[in-house]
């Protein structure tokens, strides 16, 4: 039997056919490409963006992918049995959901035996990951190889990729990693253990391919185990392996580096060889003869253990407990008829973000003349934006988009007062104070001052001004150069601004996709969002996901400017959207941590617009305070049942406290995404768990608008949801564990202590309150139209068919829920007889509660 071919065939994912014929079965380049596929894809800190942790497994059914990943990385696939059992006791897993899941799996209705089995107490075993082959260095030869190699390897990688922490860069850092190390070892008069070994030195002069072959021969011995050995080696530090792959394919580093996974593999093998030689002298490879190695294949279908099967039932039941409740609520509202304000006085567009749902509810609760809309928070402006304060442009649109426009902000001469360059005194505690002489002076002169400053910030956090709120500038510094003046392109092929026609398209896109094409009020506000926090390396995860993890302030300004432009309005009119001249658009920015709103260019409003704006502002301020109050119910350390004003102070304090690891809870509660008319969700208390995208099914018989929405909503919301899901399931393998010992490595990632592997995923402080349920997509549209859209988009279909997101729709005419199963939509069978609880104020629902609350309907009392 041809073993070599068999093995490469198993690992390859239809991607390695380079047509090369090699005499040997082992092809370094191809094998490394294959391995790269299985490594985590998390970008450097500043570009952090939520994504499906198990993206590599997305071509399989969800539960199957979960198990393969679990075998591979040694991660927990589900919560422990005890946790599910406890949820059941608490009623968070409902009897009806459990029954639904059991019946679906083929059990008889009301089956006692399986229920007993599910509730029997037993210990959930800790999964073990791959690595047995590699661990033989310890178990058979007594060498703690990883302990020695990782220390040096991580430091090499971190120093090479460093973006500005170290005072000295690596010499020749512009060269490839392989050459840099070769040159350092060659040039240095001092040794570089263990690479100064004669053999290593010789190999460093050659190519990485040769070094890899040489080392594998000495370390492993048998060619058919090479790939497995390399795989285990890379999986022993997925953080750094993944980062190398990410930086290899990504040019976003401010200090570019020519790194390649192959170089890293070669250097790691050299280090292993060097340390083994040092410990053992001459040594034999791990595999001498044709002895069999116990194997686990990443491509076969895994068999779940009996406990895993039970966990899966529980997990599905946990999800359906939430789904049933939500779908019941939506079915109920769909039958209430048209409830939208007849003549709205003011309207606001919000990001679909789950954190905005409660604010929208409060605004509409405060005034029946208020109408809100949800749309992805980049407001259709797909661009690179360069603030007047920034030296480089930033991408402010969803990660998959490739913007073709660059817009610069031109600084107003009097804007100096707004933008403060960081003061020298504030920055002195950065690297200069870590050098010898300057450090001595700074320490002697300013040490005590820093102690006092620390005391000030710790004891009076709300008094201290946050010095590092956000990476991006929120306040406008001048005019946006939105209108393109010529057709010349930049070096990167970008247009400087938009033409009038392109602007019309952008505004039309936002208005048509949400169904907001008539009934314009006098004031329409685009509310973007972002978050301010201090002392938080995860800052990018707090901002707007639709703006590639940045605050969307500039997008709100841009879309408002476009929509206000007379020529654009002209163009819109010719396309059937008639915006009356009395209508004014305004950009605004919602800080989701502090719960305050900044308005852009509001001083330009006059007359009635000014009056409406002042009313808007007043409503918004009340809504923000009530929103803060609702958020406080989830904070243990907040006062119980605070007044709205107290709550507002509390959340602002969180944003400026250097000791607060949870400035806000981000997407911790995300569990669904509803693409529907506002009528379907108006007044619904969704407990900040839903992404809300406005969509008018009647205006979209072809499904084209839906297609546009879904192609952003599924990857963005699904990515956020699954990242939380997996980080919650296994907080150390998929998540980054507790935030408290984290140490910033080279500005590109965090690690535990100074010698740990880079951490991927989210810290427990962000995920501990998360109920791990896959996101439920709800689309208000006829099932056949939705199915047609999905079939036209294989990428989206993969998410849905393999159940990485759960997909349902509410039939706009039948007003019942359908769920996607297998290949089609079937009636969801939601029991409509249980009424949805109704209250008159949101506060009645959550007063005194700190756990998730089911769906309620808030109905304004007619006054």
């Amino acid at each position: 039997m041809d073993h070599d071919n068999n093995m490469s065939g198993e690992l390859a994912l239809d991607r390695g056919s380079e047509g090369e014929t090699v005499s040997s079965g082992f092809n370094v380049g191809r094998v490394i490409d294959n391995l790269a596929h299985w490594l985590p894809t998390q970008a450097p800190l500043k570009d952090f963006i939520h994504h499906n942790t198990l993206h590599a497994f997305q071509d399989r059914a969800f539960h199957e992918g979960l198990l393969v990943a679990s075998r591979l990385y040694g991660a927990k696939p589900y919560l422990d049995l005890e946790t599910y059992q406890q949820y059941y006791e608490e009623g968070r897993i409902t009897e009806s959901a459990l029954e639904r899941v059991l019946v679906h799996q083929g059990y008889k209705p009301g089956d006692k035996a399986i229920r007993n089995e599910l509730r029997r107490a037993r210990k959930t075993p800790t999964p073990s990951g791959a690595g047995a082959f590699h661990r033989r260095w310890f178990s058979e030869r007594g060498v703690d190889l990883d302990g020695q190699v990782h220390r040096v390897l991580f430091r090499i990688l971190s120093n090479y990729l460093d973006q500005g922490v170290a005072i000295w860069r690596m010499p020749h850092a512009g060269d490839t990693l392989w050459n840099v190390i070769g040159r350092i070892v060659e040039e240095s008069f001092l040794p570089f253990p263990p690479l100064s070994d004669r053999q290593c030195k010789r190999l460093l002069k050659g190519s990485p391919d040769d070094a890899i072959r040489f080392c594998l021969e000495r370390l492993v011995g048998s060619e058919r185990h090479y790939e497995a050995y390399l795989f285990e080696m890379l999986l022993a530090h997925t953080g750094w392996s993944g980062m190398v792959v990410m930086t290899e394919n990504n040019r976003s580093l401010l200090l570019p580096r020519k790194i390649a996974l192959k170089d890293m593999v070669a250097i790691e093998l050299l280090l292993e060889y060097g340390f083994l030689t040092r410990a053992l002298g001459k040594f034999d490879p791990l595999v001498g003869g044709p002895e069999p190695v116990p194997t686990f294949s990443v491509t076969t279908k895994p068999t779940p253990t009996s406990i895993e099967s039970l966990q899966r039932i529980w997990q599905d039941a946990l999800e359906w407990s939430y789904y049933e409740d939500l779908l019941r609520g939506l079915q109920h509202t769909s039958r209430l008829g048209d409830r939208s304000p007849k003549q709205p006085k003011m309207q606001a567009f919000f990001c679909i973000d789950d954190r905005e749902t409660s604010l929208r509810r409060y605004l509409e609760e405060e005034s029946d003349k208020f109408e809100t809309w949800g749309v992805a928070g980049f407001f259709g402006v797909d661009w690179l934006f360069q603030s007047a304060a920034a030296g480089v442009p930033t991408k402010l649109c969803p990660a998959p988009l490739k913007p073709k426009h660059l817009v610069r902000e031109i600084r107003k001469p009097d804007a100096g007062a707004v933008f403060r360059k960081p003061k020298l005194l504030q920055l002195l505690h950065l690297t200069p104070s870590n050098t010898l002489f300057r450090g001595w002076l700074i320490t002697q002169v300013l040490g005590v001052w820093h102690a006092l400053r620390l005391a000030w910030q710790v004891f009076l956090p709300s008094q201290s001004r946050a010095t590092d709120q956000s990476l991006s500038q929120i306040e406008p510094l001048g005019e946006l150069q939105l209108l393109r003046e010529g057709e010349q392109q930049t070096e990167d092929g970008l247009y400087l601004g938009y033409s009038m026609g392109e602007m019309v398209e952008r505004v039309e896109g936002v208005l048509k996709s949400t169904g907001c094409t008539k009934g314009f009020s006098d004031l329409m506000v685009f509310v973007s969002h972002g978050a301010s926090s201090v002392n938080n390396p995860y800052f990018a995860a707090y901002d707007c996901g639709a703006c590639s993890g940045r605050p969307g302030a500039a997008n709100a300004r841009a879309i408002a400017w476009m929509a206000n432009h007379p020529t654009v309005r002209e163009g819109l009119r010719s396309r059937g959207i008639d915006i009356p001249d009395s209508c004014r658009f305004l950009g605004a920015f919602h800080d989701t941590t502090r719960d305050d709103v900044t308005y852009f260019n509001a001083e330009e409003l006059t007359g009635t617009h000014r009056e409406v704006f002042l009313e808007f502002k007043k409503l918004m301020d009340t809504a923000l305070q009530r929103n803060a109050r609702e958020r406080c119910r989830r904070f243990d350390l907040a006062k119980k049942n605070p007044s709205p004003a107290e709550a507002s102070i509390h959340v602002k304090q969180r944003a400026t406290s250097i000791f607060e690891p949870r400035p806000e809870l981000n997407h911790a509660t995300n569990s669904s995404c509803i693409i529907a008319r506002r009528d379907l969700t108006r007044g619904l208390f969704l407990d900040r768990r839903a992404f809300l995208n406005s969509y008018d099914p009647e205006a979209d018989p072809s499904g084209n608008i839906l297609q546009g929405i879904l192609s952003a909503a599924i990857p963005v919301c699904g990515g956020i949801n699954l990242e939380y899901f997996f980080s919650r399931m296994d907080s150390t393998v998929y998540g980054s564990g507790t935030k408290l010992p984290h140490n910033v490595m080279g500005l590109i990632g965090v690690a535990n202590g100074t010698e740990g592997d880079l951490l991927t995923g989210l810290p427990t402080q962000m995920t501990e309150l998360h109920d791990p349920v896959r996101i439920l997509m709800v689309v208000e549209q006829k099932p056949e139209i939705v199915l047609d859209v999905l079939r036209r988009n294989p990428n989206l279909m993969e998410w849905v068919r393999n159940e990485w997101v759960k997909f349902t729709c509410i039939h706009p005419e039948e007003k019942t829920a359908y769920v996607f199963q297998g290949t089609e939509f079937v009636p969801a069978g939601i029991d409509a007889s249980t009424p949805v609880k109704s209250v008159s104020r949101s506060e009645e629902i959550f007063e005194g509660k700190s756990t998730p609350v089911p769906v309620h309907l808030v109905e304004r009392k007619k006054s």
Partner: protein, 615 residues
């Protein structure tokens, strides 16, 4: 005022125990108790400082009584407070208060919430004992407590291997440098034949007879060794960045602010002694200078923020050593306060470094090319690369210490082991026969004692190298302690209650610990993995075992601490080498015990199933 002194010693200790007992389950209560105790401590210390200044800001001394007394030996509790003490006392109390306030929010919902604050109080207690200590023996007690609390906080995340491994590195360095204080205390006994108060140190040194000159020099070096270990000076700088494994505030208070300056405190305390000896002054200055050069270089190549701050702190401590050597203790004292404040702040806000640097880099008008080298640009290429290699490898200090200390120790231990395996019984019998023979033949007690001391070292080394059986390692340490007592007893020739005290401090923890180690061994294959994480299964037994380890290692918790001190006191009459051998044995035992405990109780949970390889 003495009440205030007692309160500032007692409050942290009571706080430590109380918070531990309260546990993390009711976080709010624990948090309130922590706040109460911190407030009380800050008030006490403030009152003490105010009173002290009011009474003329002069050195004061109180006798709090005698902890233990026998005809030939006593352990008095002298409290000494001068300007150095006041500065350290106040800085420690205030910075700890800030850290506590910070952590009460920062540590929210962390599973080790109570454990964290309990250890912080233990640290505060140790610091206050250290600062108030009027004698070197008492100072050693504080020194040890600070060391063990440091170990506990580095290994705070005990379910992962790296923190535990690094905690052991830190602890081993501390322990090796304890030789300095331990032998230093013994030297003090030899030189002055009784317990010497710090208040009388200056006059005692001035009036010392000329023949004690070399002894004083030796003692100065011992003190310097101790200071170097605790403060991360040459050649021990490598442990400081590795200690940054705990939650950020604990790293800030220990390696940024207070603990790292313990060595400076010791040198300030013993200033009259070593500063009167030119060689010692020279060496101290040189150590400071070498540290400054190596650690500033090492710091420059640290691309992680905490490591860089750690080295910056070490560099400043090196400068303090130089300041001390050239005769500016006041300047060093000010330098300490300033450095503590700055580094503490830097570490606490270290997570913001990303935003701050990126913001600087990406703001308009900044130079994005970011110069590759700062001041060293003018160096020739190869020299620059060599300097980088030196910096990258942190001055080769870890390598050096491993090569010079750890490997020989392990090799000897393994040799003992091999001999033990092949013919251990036979050698034991031969030795025993020899013992009886020597005893019967009436040879001098020196030989008998020497033989026992030799056995002690053999047992220690054997325990150090034991990797297969936890029970055997534990017993070897026990025997080692036993032999130490026997050795001194044989040499001293007369039984006194000091020996009874020593044995009463060693034997019970040995046997209780033996029971516990056996209990744990039932469910683990000691050789199979590096760590076994038993604390998760039985935290009470793990706590008991920890207490046994402390007792057996002569930690200031039971009679064995005073016993060990008395033992060394009795070996005064004999010779340097006996004290040297005993100290060596104690140090090795300490390291072995910490490692044994960590291997059994700490570390990750082992996967239940058999390992699988991937294809």
């Amino acid at each position: 005022m003495s009440y205030l002194v007692a309160a500032s010693l007692g409050l942290p200790l009571v706080g430590c125990v109380l918070v531990y007992l309260l546990g993390s389950r009711r976080e709010k209560t624990t948090s309130q108790v922590v706040r109460l105790f911190t407030t009380l401590i800050v008030c006490t210390v403030t009152a003490l400082v105010v009173l002290w200044v009011k009474e003329g800001a002069e050195a004061l001394e109180w006798d709090l009584g005698i902890l233990y007394e026998s005809p030939r030996y006593h352990f008095p509790l002298f409290v000494y407070l001068d300007s150095i003490g006041i500065v350290f006392l106040a800085t420690t109390a205030y910075l700890t208060a800030i850290i506590v306030r910070f952590s009460r929010y920062y540590m929210h919902r962390e599973s080790g919430y109570a454990r964290f604050f309990s250890t912080i109080f233990l640290f505060l207690f140790g610091m206050n004992v250290l600062v108030f200590a009027g004698t070197i023996d008492l100072l050693f007690a504080g020194w040890e407590i600070v060391g063990i609390s440091s170990f506990l906080l580095v290994a705070f995340y005990r379910e992962r291997s790296t923190p535990v491994r690094n905690a052991l590195v830190v602890y081993a360095v501390y322990r090796v440098c304890d030789v300095g204080v331990l032998l230093g205390a013994w030297m003090a006994h030899t030189i002055w034949h009784e317990v010497q108060n710090f208040s009388e140190l200056a006059s005692a040194v001035a009036t010392a007879s000329p023949e004690t000159g070399s002894a004083l020099t030796f003692m100065s070096f011992l003190i310097l060794l101790a200071a170097c270990g605790k403060s991360g000076q040459f050649p021990f700088s490598f442990w400081v960045p590795r200690a940054m494994e705990g939650p950020t505030p604990s790293s800030a208070i220990f390696y940024g602010a207070i603990s790292i300056h313990c060595g400076v405190f010791l040198l300030l305390r013993m200033y009259p002694l070593w500063h009167s000896i030119p060689v010692a002054v020279w060496v101290t200055g040189m150590v400071g200078a070498v540290t400054v050069v190596l650690s500033t270089l090492s710091g420059r190549a640290q691309s992680n923020i905490k490591g860089q701050i750690g080295y910056a702190s070490v560099t400043q401590v090196g400068l303090m050593l130089i300041e001390l050597a050239i005769g500016f203790p006041k300047l060093a004292l000010i330098h300490f306060v300033a450095n503590a404040g700055l580094r503490c702040y830097q570490l606490l806000v270290s997570p913001s470094v990303v935003v701050q640097i990126l913001r600087m880099q990406s703001s308009a008008g900044s130079d994005l090319t970011l110069s590759e080298w700062s001041t060293e640009r003018w160096l020739p290429n190869r020299l620059r690369t060599s300097l980088y290699a030196l910096a990258f490898n942190e001055g080769y200090l870890l390598e050096g210490v491993r090569l010079l200390c750890v490997l020989p120790l392990r090799a000897t231990g393994e040799l003992v082991h091999r001999v033990d395996k092949t013919g251990g019984r036979i050698i034991g019998v031969v030795l025993a026969v020899g013992f009886v023979f020597v005893a019967a033949s009436g040879l001098s007690a020196i030989w008998l004692g020497g033989l026992a001391a030799g056995l002690m070292v053999l047992a220690s080394l054997s325990a150090f190298a034991e990797s297969k059986s936890a029970v055997r390692a534990w017993n070897a340490v026990g025997f080692s302690c036993l032999f130490a007592g026997i050795a001194v007893f044989l040499m001293d020739g007369q039984w006194s209650k000091d020996f009874a005290l020593y044995f009463s401090g060693v034997v019970p923890p040995w046997f209780v610990g033996l029971f516990l180690v056996r209990y744990f061994s039932k469910s683990m294959d000691f050789a199979r993995a590096e760590f076994h994480g038993k604390v998760r299964e039985d935290s009470f037994a793990a706590l008991l075992l920890f207490l046994c380890v402390l007792g057996l290692a002569g930690f200031p918790i039971g009679p064995s601490f005073v016993g060990e001190d008395a033992l060394l006191f009795h070996s005064v009459g004999n010779s340097v080498w006996l004290a040297g051998i005993l100290t060596f044995g104690f140090v090795v035992n300490g390291i072995t015990l910490a490692r044994l405990f960590s291997k059994i109780c700490f570390g990750p949970e082992l996967p239940a199933e058999a390992d699988v390889a991937i294809r």
